[in-house]
Protein backbone atom coordinates (compact mmCIF):
# COMPACT_ATOMS: atom_id res chain seq x y z
CA UNK A 1 0.00 0.00 0.00
CA UNK A 2 2.88 2.34 0.86
CA UNK A 3 4.60 1.83 -2.47
CA UNK A 4 1.33 2.49 -4.25
CA UNK A 5 0.78 5.79 -2.42
CA UNK A 6 4.36 6.80 -3.24
CA UNK A 7 3.94 6.08 -6.95
CA UNK A 8 0.62 7.91 -7.21
CA UNK A 9 2.01 10.82 -5.18
CA UNK A 10 4.92 11.02 -7.59
CA UNK A 11 2.44 11.12 -10.50
CA UNK A 12 0.63 14.08 -8.95
CA UNK A 13 3.94 15.89 -8.31
CA UNK A 14 4.89 15.27 -11.92
CA UNK A 15 1.59 16.79 -13.07
CA UNK A 16 2.22 19.81 -10.83
CA UNK A 17 5.64 20.23 -12.42
CA UNK A 18 4.53 19.94 -16.05
CA UNK A 19 4.04 23.70 -16.70
CA UNK A 20 7.44 24.45 -15.13
CA UNK A 21 9.23 21.74 -17.11
CA UNK A 22 7.48 22.69 -20.34
CA UNK A 23 8.40 26.34 -19.90
CA UNK A 24 12.03 25.46 -19.07
CA UNK A 25 12.28 23.18 -22.11
CA UNK A 26 10.43 25.75 -24.26
CA UNK A 27 7.80 23.17 -25.22
CA UNK A 28 4.50 24.90 -24.38
CA UNK A 29 2.75 22.27 -26.51
CA UNK A 30 2.99 19.84 -23.61
CA UNK A 31 0.99 22.10 -21.29
CA UNK A 32 -1.75 21.96 -23.89
CA UNK A 33 -1.48 18.20 -24.40
CA UNK A 34 -1.50 17.30 -20.71
CA UNK A 35 -4.39 19.70 -20.05
CA UNK A 36 -6.41 17.98 -22.75
CA UNK A 37 -5.51 14.58 -21.30
CA UNK A 38 -6.63 15.69 -17.83
CA UNK A 39 -9.98 16.94 -19.19
CA UNK A 40 -10.58 13.52 -20.70
CA UNK A 41 -9.41 11.96 -17.43
CA UNK A 42 -12.30 13.80 -15.71
CA UNK A 43 -14.70 12.38 -18.29
CA UNK A 44 -13.23 8.90 -17.81
CA UNK A 45 -13.40 9.20 -14.00
CA UNK A 46 -17.07 10.12 -14.29
CA UNK A 47 -17.72 7.10 -16.50
CA UNK A 48 -15.80 4.90 -14.06
CA UNK A 49 -18.37 5.70 -11.39
CA UNK A 50 -21.13 3.92 -13.31
CA UNK A 51 -19.05 1.51 -15.41
CA UNK A 52 -16.43 0.41 -12.90
CA UNK A 53 -18.49 0.55 -9.70
CA UNK A 54 -22.04 0.29 -11.02
CA UNK A 55 -21.53 -2.17 -13.89
CA UNK A 56 -23.52 0.07 -16.24
CA UNK A 57 -21.78 -0.07 -19.63
CA UNK A 58 -22.68 3.36 -20.98
CA UNK A 59 -21.62 3.69 -24.61
CA UNK A 60 -22.88 7.25 -24.79
CA UNK A 61 -20.80 9.26 -22.42
CA UNK A 62 -19.74 11.71 -25.09
CA UNK A 63 -23.31 13.06 -24.99
CA UNK A 64 -22.53 14.91 -21.77
CA UNK A 65 -19.29 16.30 -23.15
CA UNK A 66 -21.50 17.75 -25.88
CA UNK A 67 -24.18 19.09 -23.53
CA UNK A 68 -21.51 20.67 -21.33
CA UNK A 69 -19.71 22.16 -24.30
CA UNK A 70 -22.85 23.51 -25.93
CA UNK A 71 -24.02 25.00 -22.60
CA UNK A 72 -20.90 27.16 -22.58
CA UNK A 73 -21.09 27.82 -26.31
CA UNK A 74 -24.76 28.77 -26.48
CA UNK A 75 -24.58 31.16 -23.52
CA UNK A 76 -21.47 32.75 -25.04
CA UNK A 77 -23.34 32.98 -28.37
CA UNK A 78 -25.90 35.22 -26.64
CA UNK A 79 -23.16 37.31 -25.03
CA UNK A 80 -23.23 35.73 -21.57
CA UNK A 81 -19.62 35.05 -20.67
CA UNK A 82 -20.07 34.55 -16.94
CA UNK A 83 -18.27 31.28 -16.22
CA UNK A 84 -20.17 30.54 -13.01
CA UNK A 85 -23.41 30.68 -14.94
CA UNK A 86 -22.04 28.78 -17.96
CA UNK A 87 -20.53 25.95 -15.93
CA UNK A 88 -23.56 25.64 -13.66
CA UNK A 89 -25.71 25.28 -16.75
CA UNK A 90 -23.25 22.73 -18.14
CA UNK A 91 -23.49 20.61 -14.99
CA UNK A 92 -27.24 20.95 -14.47
CA UNK A 93 -28.00 20.54 -18.16
CA UNK A 94 -25.97 17.34 -18.36
CA UNK A 95 -27.60 16.08 -15.19
CA UNK A 96 -31.03 16.69 -16.70
CA UNK A 97 -30.15 14.97 -19.98
CA UNK A 98 -28.66 12.07 -18.01
CA UNK A 99 -31.86 11.87 -15.98
CA UNK A 100 -33.98 11.52 -19.11
CA UNK A 101 -31.63 9.03 -20.83
CA UNK A 102 -31.07 7.13 -17.59
CA UNK A 103 -34.76 6.89 -16.70
CA UNK A 104 -35.32 4.86 -19.87
CA UNK A 105 -32.04 3.00 -20.24
CA UNK A 106 -31.27 1.98 -16.64
CA UNK A 107 -34.42 -0.16 -16.75
CA UNK A 108 -32.75 -2.32 -19.38
CA UNK A 109 -29.80 -4.66 -18.99
CA UNK A 110 -26.71 -5.87 -20.80
CA UNK A 111 -26.54 -5.36 -24.50
CA UNK A 112 -29.75 -3.32 -24.60
CA UNK A 113 -28.24 -0.79 -22.21
CA UNK A 114 -25.12 -0.48 -24.38
CA UNK A 115 -27.10 0.09 -27.55
CA UNK A 116 -29.68 2.45 -26.06
CA UNK A 117 -27.11 4.78 -24.51
CA UNK A 118 -25.32 4.76 -27.86
CA UNK A 119 -28.52 5.53 -29.75
CA UNK A 120 -29.48 8.44 -27.49
CA UNK A 121 -26.06 9.97 -27.90
CA UNK A 122 -26.39 9.60 -31.63
CA UNK A 123 -29.73 11.38 -31.43
CA UNK A 124 -28.11 14.36 -29.69
CA UNK A 125 -25.32 14.26 -32.25
CA UNK A 126 -27.82 14.62 -35.10
CA UNK A 127 -29.61 17.34 -33.16
CA UNK A 128 -26.31 19.23 -32.98
CA UNK A 129 -25.77 18.77 -36.72
CA UNK A 130 -29.23 19.94 -37.72
CA UNK A 131 -29.42 23.11 -35.62
CA UNK A 132 -28.00 25.62 -38.09
CA UNK A 133 -28.25 28.49 -35.61
CA UNK A 134 -25.31 27.09 -33.64
CA UNK A 135 -23.15 26.21 -36.61
CA UNK A 136 -24.69 22.83 -37.55
CA UNK A 137 -22.10 20.31 -38.67
CA UNK A 138 -19.22 22.83 -38.54
CA UNK A 139 -19.85 23.85 -34.95
CA UNK A 140 -19.04 27.30 -33.59
CA UNK A 141 -16.07 29.13 -32.21
CA UNK A 142 -15.93 30.19 -28.59
CA UNK A 143 -14.63 33.72 -29.02
CA UNK A 144 -14.51 34.62 -25.32
CA UNK A 145 -13.58 32.01 -22.74
CA UNK A 146 -15.58 31.62 -19.56
CA UNK A 147 -15.04 34.59 -17.21
CA UNK A 148 -14.72 33.97 -13.46
CA UNK A 149 -15.02 37.53 -12.07
CA UNK A 150 -11.25 37.93 -12.39
CA UNK A 151 -10.57 34.94 -10.14
CA UNK A 152 -9.04 32.66 -12.77
CA UNK A 153 -8.06 33.73 -16.26
CA UNK A 154 -8.62 30.82 -18.62
CA UNK A 155 -6.66 32.57 -21.39
CA UNK A 156 -3.57 32.03 -19.28
CA UNK A 157 -2.60 28.47 -20.25
CA UNK A 158 -0.84 27.78 -16.96
CA UNK A 159 -3.67 29.06 -14.77
CA UNK A 160 -6.13 27.03 -16.83
CA UNK A 161 -3.84 24.02 -16.49
CA UNK A 162 -3.83 24.18 -12.70
CA UNK A 163 -7.58 24.70 -12.61
CA UNK A 164 -8.09 21.51 -14.64
CA UNK A 165 -5.65 19.61 -12.43
CA UNK A 166 -7.46 20.78 -9.29
CA UNK A 167 -10.82 19.78 -10.77
CA UNK A 168 -9.46 16.37 -11.78
CA UNK A 169 -8.22 15.68 -8.26
CA UNK A 170 -11.49 16.96 -6.79
CA UNK A 171 -13.43 14.74 -9.15
CA UNK A 172 -11.43 11.64 -8.23
CA UNK A 173 -11.87 12.50 -4.54
CA UNK A 174 -15.62 12.88 -5.05
CA UNK A 175 -15.84 9.47 -6.74
CA UNK A 176 -13.78 8.02 -3.87
CA UNK A 177 -16.18 9.45 -1.27
CA UNK A 178 -19.20 8.32 -3.26
CA UNK A 179 -18.17 4.71 -3.75
CA UNK A 180 -17.20 4.35 -0.09
CA UNK A 181 -20.45 5.77 1.17
CA UNK A 182 -23.62 3.79 1.87
CA UNK A 183 -24.80 4.89 -1.57
CA UNK A 184 -21.70 3.45 -3.21
CA UNK A 185 -22.06 0.24 -1.25
CA UNK A 186 -25.53 -0.34 -2.69
CA UNK A 187 -24.27 0.55 -6.16
CA UNK A 188 -21.43 -1.97 -5.93
CA UNK A 189 -23.71 -4.58 -4.40
CA UNK A 190 -26.14 -4.23 -7.31
CA UNK A 191 -23.23 -4.71 -9.71
CA UNK A 192 -22.00 -7.91 -8.10
CA UNK A 193 -25.41 -9.47 -7.45
CA UNK A 194 -28.64 -7.73 -8.24
CA UNK A 195 -30.93 -10.45 -6.88
CA UNK A 196 -29.24 -10.45 -3.48
CA UNK A 197 -29.34 -6.67 -3.34
CA UNK A 198 -33.07 -6.81 -3.85
CA UNK A 199 -33.38 -9.59 -1.31
CA UNK A 200 -31.82 -7.49 1.45
CA UNK A 201 -34.26 -4.72 0.68
CA UNK A 202 -32.62 -2.34 -1.80
CA UNK A 203 -34.15 -1.59 -5.15
CA UNK A 204 -31.13 -0.90 -7.38
CA UNK A 205 -32.97 1.34 -9.86
CA UNK A 206 -32.96 4.66 -7.90
CA UNK A 207 -29.33 4.15 -6.86
CA UNK A 208 -28.20 3.31 -10.39
CA UNK A 209 -30.17 6.21 -11.83
CA UNK A 210 -28.69 8.61 -9.27
CA UNK A 211 -25.19 7.38 -10.11
CA UNK A 212 -25.98 7.77 -13.81
CA UNK A 213 -27.05 11.39 -13.25
CA UNK A 214 -24.02 12.27 -11.10
CA UNK A 215 -21.76 10.69 -13.69
CA UNK A 216 -23.41 12.70 -16.47
CA UNK A 217 -23.10 15.93 -14.48
CA UNK A 218 -19.36 15.39 -13.89
CA UNK A 219 -18.84 14.63 -17.55
CA UNK A 220 -20.77 17.82 -18.38
CA UNK A 221 -18.16 19.74 -16.40
CA UNK A 222 -15.48 18.06 -18.52
CA UNK A 223 -17.42 19.22 -21.58
CA UNK A 224 -17.39 22.84 -20.36
CA UNK A 225 -13.63 22.53 -19.83
CA UNK A 226 -13.13 20.99 -23.25
CA UNK A 227 -15.06 23.80 -24.94
CA UNK A 228 -12.77 26.33 -23.25
CA UNK A 229 -9.71 24.24 -24.04
CA UNK A 230 -10.37 23.99 -27.77
CA UNK A 231 -12.21 27.35 -27.94
CA UNK A 232 -14.56 25.49 -30.22
CA UNK A 233 -17.78 23.50 -29.96
CA UNK A 234 -18.96 21.05 -32.60
CA UNK A 235 -21.21 17.98 -32.83
CA UNK A 236 -17.95 16.00 -33.09
CA UNK A 237 -17.81 16.35 -29.26
CA UNK A 238 -20.62 13.81 -29.25
CA UNK A 239 -19.29 11.50 -31.94
CA UNK A 240 -19.79 7.91 -30.92
CA UNK A 241 -16.10 7.13 -31.37
CA UNK A 242 -15.56 9.68 -28.56
CA UNK A 243 -17.74 7.57 -26.29
CA UNK A 244 -15.70 4.54 -27.30
CA UNK A 245 -12.45 6.34 -26.51
CA UNK A 246 -13.63 7.38 -23.06
CA UNK A 247 -14.72 3.83 -22.39
CA UNK A 248 -11.32 2.59 -23.51
CA UNK A 249 -9.58 4.94 -21.10
CA UNK A 250 -11.51 3.40 -18.21
CA UNK A 251 -10.78 -0.16 -19.30
CA UNK A 252 -7.15 0.48 -20.19
CA UNK A 253 -6.56 2.15 -16.84
CA UNK A 254 -8.46 -0.44 -14.86
CA UNK A 255 -12.18 -0.53 -14.14
CA UNK A 256 -13.33 0.17 -10.64
CA UNK A 257 -10.01 1.64 -9.56
CA UNK A 258 -9.70 5.29 -8.52
CA UNK A 259 -6.53 6.31 -10.39
CA UNK A 260 -7.36 3.92 -13.27
CA UNK A 261 -9.30 6.27 -15.56
CA UNK A 262 -6.65 8.99 -15.30
CA UNK A 263 -3.89 6.49 -16.07
CA UNK A 264 -5.93 5.16 -18.98
CA UNK A 265 -6.54 8.66 -20.36
CA UNK A 266 -2.81 9.36 -20.25
CA UNK A 267 -1.86 6.08 -21.85
CA UNK A 268 -4.41 6.27 -24.66
CA UNK A 269 -4.01 9.93 -25.58
CA UNK A 270 -0.20 9.93 -25.32
CA UNK A 271 0.02 6.81 -27.49
CA UNK A 272 -2.38 8.48 -29.96
CA UNK A 273 -0.23 11.60 -29.97
CA UNK A 274 2.99 9.63 -30.54
CA UNK A 275 1.48 7.48 -33.31
CA UNK A 276 -0.08 10.52 -34.98
CA UNK A 277 3.29 12.25 -34.96
CA UNK A 278 4.82 9.21 -36.61
CA UNK A 279 2.32 8.33 -39.35
CA UNK A 280 -0.87 9.75 -40.80
CA UNK A 281 -2.44 6.31 -40.63
CA UNK A 282 -1.95 5.88 -36.88
CA UNK A 283 -5.37 4.31 -36.40
CA UNK A 284 -4.31 1.24 -38.35
CA UNK A 285 -1.82 0.59 -35.53
CA UNK A 286 -3.94 1.85 -32.65
CA UNK A 287 -6.92 -0.39 -33.56
CA UNK A 288 -5.08 -3.73 -33.23
CA UNK A 289 -3.27 -2.40 -30.12
CA UNK A 290 -6.68 -1.80 -28.51
CA UNK A 291 -7.85 -5.28 -29.51
CA UNK A 292 -4.72 -6.83 -28.00
CA UNK A 293 -5.12 -4.83 -24.80
CA UNK A 294 -8.69 -6.09 -24.40
CA UNK A 295 -7.64 -9.69 -25.10
CA UNK A 296 -4.53 -9.90 -22.96
CA UNK A 297 -4.35 -6.95 -20.56
CA UNK A 298 -7.47 -7.35 -18.56
CA UNK A 299 -6.57 -5.81 -15.22
CA UNK A 300 -5.55 -2.52 -16.74
CA UNK A 301 -2.71 -0.20 -15.80
CA UNK A 302 -3.92 0.18 -12.23
CA UNK A 303 -3.49 -3.59 -11.90
CA UNK A 304 0.25 -3.08 -12.38
CA UNK A 305 0.48 -0.81 -9.36
CA UNK A 306 1.64 -2.51 -6.16
CA UNK A 307 -1.10 -3.04 -3.58
CA UNK A 308 -4.70 -3.49 -4.66
CA UNK A 309 -7.65 -1.19 -4.25
CA UNK A 310 -10.42 -3.41 -5.36
CA UNK A 311 -12.90 -1.24 -3.56
CA UNK A 312 -11.44 2.18 -4.33
Amino acid sequence: MRARTLILGACVLLLLAVPLLATLLKQPYYIDLVRRVMIFAIAAASLNLILGYGGLVSFGHAAYLGVGGYSVGILAFYGIHNGWLQWTLAILGSALVALVIGAISVRTRGIYFIMITLAFTQMLYYLGISVEEYGGDDGMRLKVKSQFSGLVDLSDPIAFYYLVLALLLACIYLVHRLVNSRFGLVLRAAKSNEARTRAIGFSPYPYQLAAFVISGALCGLAGALLANHTAYIAPAFMDWTRSGEIMFMVILGGMGSLPGPALGAFALLIVEDLLAGWTEHWQVILGPLLVLSVLFFRRGLAGLLPGGDRHG
Binding site: Y112, I114, M115, I116, Y126, Q283, G287, L290, V294, L295
Partner: protein
Amino acid sequence: MTWILLFEQLLNGLQLGVTLFLMAAGLTLVFGIMNLVNLAHGSLYMVGAYLTVAAVQWTGSYALGVLLGLLGTLVVGMVLEVVALRTLYERDHLDQVLATFGLILFFNELVAILWGRTALFMSLPSYLQGHIEILPGSIYPLYRAVIIGVGLVVAVVLWYVVAKTRLGMLVRAGASNRTMVAALGVNIRLLYTLVFGFGAALAGLAGLMAGPIYAVQPGMGELILIQVFVVIVIGGIGSIRGALVGALVVGVVDTLGRAFLKPLLGHFISAPAAEAAGPALASMLIYLLMALVLAVRPAGLFPAKGG
Protein backbone atom coordinates in the same frame (compact mmCIF):
# COMPACT_ATOMS: atom_id res chain seq x y z
CA MET B 1 -50.05 13.68 -57.18
CA THR B 2 -49.26 13.66 -53.46
CA TRP B 3 -50.46 10.06 -53.27
CA ILE B 4 -47.97 9.09 -55.93
CA LEU B 5 -45.26 10.96 -54.03
CA LEU B 6 -46.25 9.17 -50.84
CA PHE B 7 -46.12 5.84 -52.67
CA GLU B 8 -42.66 6.57 -54.04
CA GLN B 9 -41.41 7.59 -50.61
CA LEU B 10 -42.88 4.40 -49.17
CA LEU B 11 -40.90 2.42 -51.74
CA ASN B 12 -37.77 4.37 -50.81
CA GLY B 13 -38.47 3.52 -47.19
CA LEU B 14 -38.84 -0.13 -48.15
CA GLN B 15 -35.54 0.02 -50.00
CA LEU B 16 -33.75 1.47 -46.95
CA GLY B 17 -35.59 -1.11 -44.85
CA VAL B 18 -34.33 -4.14 -46.78
CA THR B 19 -30.78 -2.74 -46.69
CA LEU B 20 -31.09 -2.40 -42.93
CA PHE B 21 -32.54 -5.90 -42.77
CA LEU B 22 -29.55 -7.46 -44.56
CA MET B 23 -27.29 -5.85 -41.96
CA ALA B 24 -29.54 -6.58 -39.00
CA ALA B 25 -29.99 -10.25 -39.96
CA GLY B 26 -26.25 -10.94 -39.77
CA LEU B 27 -25.78 -8.93 -36.59
CA THR B 28 -28.70 -10.51 -34.80
CA LEU B 29 -27.76 -14.05 -35.94
CA VAL B 30 -24.24 -13.62 -34.62
CA PHE B 31 -25.58 -12.21 -31.37
CA GLY B 32 -28.29 -14.82 -30.97
CA ILE B 33 -26.04 -17.79 -31.76
CA MET B 34 -22.56 -16.83 -30.64
CA ASN B 35 -23.65 -14.24 -28.05
CA LEU B 36 -21.23 -11.78 -29.68
CA VAL B 37 -21.77 -8.03 -30.02
CA ASN B 38 -19.99 -7.18 -33.23
CA LEU B 39 -19.52 -3.45 -33.81
CA ALA B 40 -17.27 -4.30 -36.75
CA HIS B 41 -20.32 -5.47 -38.68
CA GLY B 42 -20.43 -2.01 -40.26
CA SER B 43 -16.84 -2.51 -41.39
CA LEU B 44 -17.91 -5.64 -43.29
CA TYR B 45 -20.56 -3.56 -45.05
CA MET B 46 -17.80 -1.16 -46.06
CA VAL B 47 -15.46 -4.00 -47.08
CA GLY B 48 -18.21 -5.44 -49.29
CA ALA B 49 -18.68 -2.14 -51.10
CA TYR B 50 -14.94 -1.54 -51.61
CA LEU B 51 -14.14 -5.09 -52.72
CA THR B 52 -16.96 -4.91 -55.26
CA VAL B 53 -15.78 -1.57 -56.64
CA ALA B 54 -12.28 -3.01 -57.00
CA ALA B 55 -13.51 -6.28 -58.52
CA VAL B 56 -15.77 -4.51 -61.03
CA GLN B 57 -12.85 -2.37 -62.14
CA TRP B 58 -10.58 -5.38 -62.38
CA THR B 59 -12.91 -7.73 -64.27
CA GLY B 60 -14.84 -5.11 -66.22
CA SER B 61 -18.05 -6.98 -65.53
CA TYR B 62 -20.59 -5.86 -62.94
CA ALA B 63 -22.04 -9.32 -62.31
CA LEU B 64 -18.64 -10.93 -61.89
CA GLY B 65 -17.52 -8.06 -59.67
CA VAL B 66 -20.54 -8.49 -57.39
CA LEU B 67 -19.86 -12.22 -57.11
CA LEU B 68 -16.18 -11.67 -56.27
CA GLY B 69 -17.09 -8.89 -53.82
CA LEU B 70 -19.50 -11.19 -51.99
CA LEU B 71 -17.00 -14.06 -51.88
CA GLY B 72 -14.29 -11.67 -50.73
CA THR B 73 -16.42 -10.36 -47.85
CA LEU B 74 -17.27 -13.92 -46.87
CA VAL B 75 -13.57 -14.77 -46.69
CA VAL B 76 -12.71 -11.56 -44.79
CA GLY B 77 -15.47 -12.36 -42.31
CA MET B 78 -14.29 -15.93 -41.76
CA VAL B 79 -10.67 -14.86 -41.34
CA LEU B 80 -11.75 -12.17 -38.88
CA GLU B 81 -13.69 -14.74 -36.88
CA VAL B 82 -10.79 -17.16 -36.72
CA VAL B 83 -8.10 -14.58 -35.98
CA ALA B 84 -9.79 -12.19 -33.57
CA LEU B 85 -13.41 -12.78 -32.67
CA ARG B 86 -13.38 -16.47 -31.74
CA THR B 87 -11.66 -15.76 -28.42
CA LEU B 88 -14.30 -13.15 -27.57
CA TYR B 89 -17.30 -15.50 -27.43
CA GLU B 90 -16.69 -16.34 -23.79
CA ARG B 91 -15.97 -12.74 -22.76
CA ASP B 92 -18.52 -10.25 -21.48
CA HIS B 93 -20.20 -7.73 -23.74
CA LEU B 94 -17.94 -4.91 -22.61
CA ASP B 95 -14.81 -6.67 -23.89
CA GLN B 96 -16.57 -7.52 -27.15
CA VAL B 97 -17.65 -3.93 -27.71
CA LEU B 98 -14.16 -2.60 -27.05
CA ALA B 99 -12.31 -5.15 -29.14
CA THR B 100 -14.62 -4.75 -32.14
CA PHE B 101 -14.38 -0.96 -31.71
CA GLY B 102 -10.63 -1.36 -32.16
CA LEU B 103 -11.30 -3.38 -35.32
CA ILE B 104 -13.41 -0.52 -36.74
CA LEU B 105 -10.50 1.90 -36.39
CA PHE B 106 -8.28 -0.64 -38.11
CA PHE B 107 -10.61 -1.33 -41.05
CA ASN B 108 -11.46 2.33 -41.69
CA GLU B 109 -7.82 3.27 -41.78
CA LEU B 110 -6.83 0.24 -43.85
CA VAL B 111 -9.43 1.17 -46.46
CA ALA B 112 -8.18 4.77 -46.40
CA ILE B 113 -4.63 3.52 -47.04
CA LEU B 114 -5.66 1.23 -49.90
CA TRP B 115 -8.22 3.42 -51.68
CA GLY B 116 -7.80 6.91 -50.20
CA ARG B 117 -10.20 8.99 -48.16
CA THR B 118 -12.23 10.47 -50.98
CA ALA B 119 -15.54 8.87 -51.84
CA LEU B 120 -15.51 6.42 -54.76
CA PHE B 121 -18.15 6.39 -57.44
CA MET B 122 -19.71 3.06 -58.26
CA SER B 123 -21.35 2.93 -61.67
CA LEU B 124 -24.19 0.64 -62.67
CA PRO B 125 -24.31 -1.48 -65.84
CA SER B 126 -26.83 -0.33 -68.45
CA TYR B 127 -29.28 -3.16 -67.69
CA LEU B 128 -29.76 -1.84 -64.14
CA GLN B 129 -30.20 1.78 -65.13
CA GLY B 130 -33.41 3.42 -66.15
CA HIS B 131 -36.87 3.46 -64.68
CA ILE B 132 -39.87 1.20 -64.58
CA GLU B 133 -43.51 2.13 -64.41
CA ILE B 134 -44.83 0.82 -61.13
CA LEU B 135 -48.23 2.49 -61.14
CA PRO B 136 -49.79 4.20 -64.13
CA GLY B 137 -48.11 7.60 -64.26
CA SER B 138 -45.54 6.75 -61.61
CA ILE B 139 -42.02 5.72 -62.60
CA TYR B 140 -39.46 4.38 -60.17
CA PRO B 141 -35.71 3.76 -60.57
CA LEU B 142 -35.17 0.15 -61.65
CA TYR B 143 -32.10 -0.28 -59.44
CA ARG B 144 -33.98 0.61 -56.25
CA ALA B 145 -36.72 -1.83 -57.20
CA VAL B 146 -34.07 -4.52 -57.72
CA ILE B 147 -32.68 -3.85 -54.23
CA ILE B 148 -36.14 -4.31 -52.72
CA GLY B 149 -36.57 -7.56 -54.65
CA VAL B 150 -33.17 -8.96 -53.65
CA GLY B 151 -33.78 -8.04 -50.01
CA LEU B 152 -37.13 -9.78 -49.89
CA VAL B 153 -35.75 -12.90 -51.62
CA VAL B 154 -32.88 -13.05 -49.10
CA ALA B 155 -35.37 -12.73 -46.24
CA VAL B 156 -37.37 -15.71 -47.53
CA VAL B 157 -34.26 -17.83 -48.18
CA LEU B 158 -32.91 -16.99 -44.74
CA TRP B 159 -36.14 -17.99 -43.08
CA TYR B 160 -36.17 -21.25 -45.05
CA VAL B 161 -32.56 -22.12 -44.23
CA VAL B 162 -32.87 -21.39 -40.51
CA ALA B 163 -36.30 -22.92 -40.00
CA LYS B 164 -36.41 -25.85 -42.44
CA THR B 165 -32.97 -27.24 -43.25
CA ARG B 166 -30.56 -29.48 -41.37
CA LEU B 167 -27.96 -26.70 -41.33
CA GLY B 168 -30.48 -24.33 -39.79
CA MET B 169 -31.35 -26.94 -37.20
CA LEU B 170 -27.68 -27.29 -36.23
CA VAL B 171 -27.39 -23.53 -35.99
CA ARG B 172 -30.43 -23.26 -33.73
CA ALA B 173 -29.21 -26.17 -31.62
CA GLY B 174 -25.80 -24.54 -31.31
CA ALA B 175 -27.47 -21.38 -30.10
CA SER B 176 -29.31 -23.09 -27.28
CA ASN B 177 -26.62 -25.48 -26.10
CA ARG B 178 -23.17 -25.33 -27.58
CA THR B 179 -21.60 -28.08 -25.46
CA MET B 180 -24.34 -30.59 -26.16
CA VAL B 181 -24.15 -30.05 -29.90
CA ALA B 182 -20.38 -30.46 -29.80
CA ALA B 183 -20.80 -33.66 -27.77
CA LEU B 184 -23.09 -35.04 -30.48
CA GLY B 185 -20.17 -34.84 -32.88
CA VAL B 186 -20.84 -31.59 -34.69
CA ASN B 187 -17.84 -29.40 -35.43
CA ILE B 188 -19.27 -26.38 -33.68
CA ARG B 189 -16.24 -24.16 -34.25
CA LEU B 190 -16.48 -24.65 -37.98
CA LEU B 191 -20.23 -24.06 -37.80
CA TYR B 192 -19.70 -20.76 -36.00
CA THR B 193 -17.09 -19.69 -38.53
CA LEU B 194 -19.53 -20.46 -41.34
CA VAL B 195 -22.37 -18.56 -39.66
CA PHE B 196 -20.12 -15.57 -39.11
CA GLY B 197 -18.91 -15.65 -42.71
CA PHE B 198 -22.49 -15.87 -43.91
CA GLY B 199 -23.47 -12.86 -41.79
CA ALA B 200 -20.47 -11.01 -43.18
CA ALA B 201 -21.55 -11.81 -46.74
CA LEU B 202 -25.04 -10.42 -46.01
CA ALA B 203 -23.46 -7.21 -44.70
CA GLY B 204 -21.26 -7.13 -47.78
CA LEU B 205 -24.33 -7.56 -49.99
CA ALA B 206 -26.00 -4.60 -48.24
CA GLY B 207 -22.85 -2.55 -48.72
CA LEU B 208 -22.34 -3.33 -52.39
CA MET B 209 -25.99 -2.65 -53.19
CA ALA B 210 -25.91 0.64 -51.27
CA GLY B 211 -22.69 1.63 -53.06
CA PRO B 212 -24.25 3.20 -56.21
CA ILE B 213 -26.83 5.13 -54.11
CA TYR B 214 -24.72 6.42 -51.23
CA ALA B 215 -21.03 7.26 -51.17
CA VAL B 216 -18.40 4.53 -50.91
CA GLN B 217 -15.99 5.98 -48.35
CA PRO B 218 -14.16 5.08 -45.12
CA GLY B 219 -16.58 5.19 -42.18
CA MET B 220 -19.63 4.49 -44.34
CA GLY B 221 -20.38 1.43 -42.23
CA GLU B 222 -20.77 3.28 -38.95
CA LEU B 223 -23.55 5.50 -40.26
CA ILE B 224 -25.71 2.50 -41.00
CA LEU B 225 -24.47 0.42 -38.06
CA ILE B 226 -26.12 2.63 -35.46
CA GLN B 227 -29.41 2.59 -37.38
CA VAL B 228 -29.08 -1.20 -37.42
CA PHE B 229 -28.72 -1.18 -33.64
CA VAL B 230 -31.96 0.74 -33.44
CA VAL B 231 -33.52 -1.89 -35.71
CA ILE B 232 -32.51 -4.87 -33.63
CA VAL B 233 -33.30 -3.17 -30.34
CA ILE B 234 -36.80 -2.44 -31.64
CA GLY B 235 -37.21 -5.91 -33.13
CA GLY B 236 -35.76 -7.82 -30.20
CA ILE B 237 -32.11 -8.89 -30.19
CA GLY B 238 -31.50 -12.38 -31.60
CA SER B 239 -34.76 -12.61 -33.54
CA ILE B 240 -34.70 -12.68 -37.36
CA ARG B 241 -38.41 -11.95 -37.56
CA GLY B 242 -37.89 -8.97 -35.26
CA ALA B 243 -35.01 -7.81 -37.45
CA LEU B 244 -37.26 -7.87 -40.54
CA VAL B 245 -40.14 -6.01 -38.91
CA GLY B 246 -37.80 -3.56 -37.15
CA ALA B 247 -35.87 -2.87 -40.36
CA LEU B 248 -38.97 -2.15 -42.42
CA VAL B 249 -40.47 0.06 -39.70
CA VAL B 250 -37.24 2.02 -39.22
CA GLY B 251 -36.68 2.34 -42.98
CA VAL B 252 -40.18 3.63 -43.67
CA VAL B 253 -40.36 5.93 -40.60
CA ASP B 254 -36.97 7.46 -41.33
CA THR B 255 -37.68 8.03 -45.03
CA LEU B 256 -41.19 9.39 -44.54
CA GLY B 257 -39.99 11.61 -41.68
CA ARG B 258 -37.30 13.17 -43.85
CA ALA B 259 -39.73 13.67 -46.72
CA PHE B 260 -42.89 14.86 -45.03
CA LEU B 261 -42.17 16.09 -41.52
CA LYS B 262 -41.17 19.59 -42.57
CA PRO B 263 -44.26 20.35 -44.73
CA LEU B 264 -46.45 18.64 -42.12
CA LEU B 265 -45.06 20.80 -39.32
CA GLY B 266 -45.62 23.82 -41.54
CA HIS B 267 -49.36 23.38 -41.04
CA PHE B 268 -49.06 23.76 -37.29
CA ILE B 269 -46.21 26.17 -36.63
CA SER B 270 -44.70 29.05 -38.59
CA ALA B 271 -42.78 28.21 -41.75
CA PRO B 272 -39.32 29.33 -40.45
CA ALA B 273 -39.83 27.32 -37.26
CA ALA B 274 -40.82 24.26 -39.29
CA GLU B 275 -37.78 24.87 -41.51
CA ALA B 276 -35.56 24.63 -38.43
CA ALA B 277 -37.36 21.95 -36.45
CA GLY B 278 -38.29 19.64 -39.35
CA PRO B 279 -34.85 18.25 -40.23
CA ALA B 280 -33.81 18.09 -36.56
CA LEU B 281 -36.90 16.12 -35.62
CA ALA B 282 -36.67 13.93 -38.73
CA SER B 283 -33.13 12.81 -37.90
CA MET B 284 -34.16 12.06 -34.31
CA LEU B 285 -37.37 10.27 -35.22
CA ILE B 286 -36.11 6.67 -35.21
CA TYR B 287 -34.41 7.15 -31.84
CA LEU B 288 -37.63 8.54 -30.40
CA LEU B 289 -39.44 5.54 -31.86
CA MET B 290 -36.93 3.26 -30.18
CA ALA B 291 -37.38 4.98 -26.82
CA LEU B 292 -41.13 4.63 -27.19
CA VAL B 293 -40.95 0.91 -28.04
CA LEU B 294 -38.61 0.25 -25.12
CA ALA B 295 -40.79 2.15 -22.69
CA VAL B 296 -43.61 -0.24 -23.58
CA ARG B 297 -41.64 -3.43 -24.28
CA PRO B 298 -38.13 -3.36 -22.77
CA ALA B 299 -37.04 -6.49 -24.68
CA GLY B 300 -38.22 -5.34 -28.11
CA LEU B 301 -41.20 -6.36 -30.20
CA PHE B 302 -40.20 -9.98 -30.78
CA PRO B 303 -37.96 -11.11 -27.90
CA ALA B 304 -35.89 -14.17 -28.88
CA LYS B 305 -36.97 -17.27 -27.02
CA GLY B 306 -34.80 -18.41 -24.13
CA GLY B 307 -32.63 -15.42 -23.86
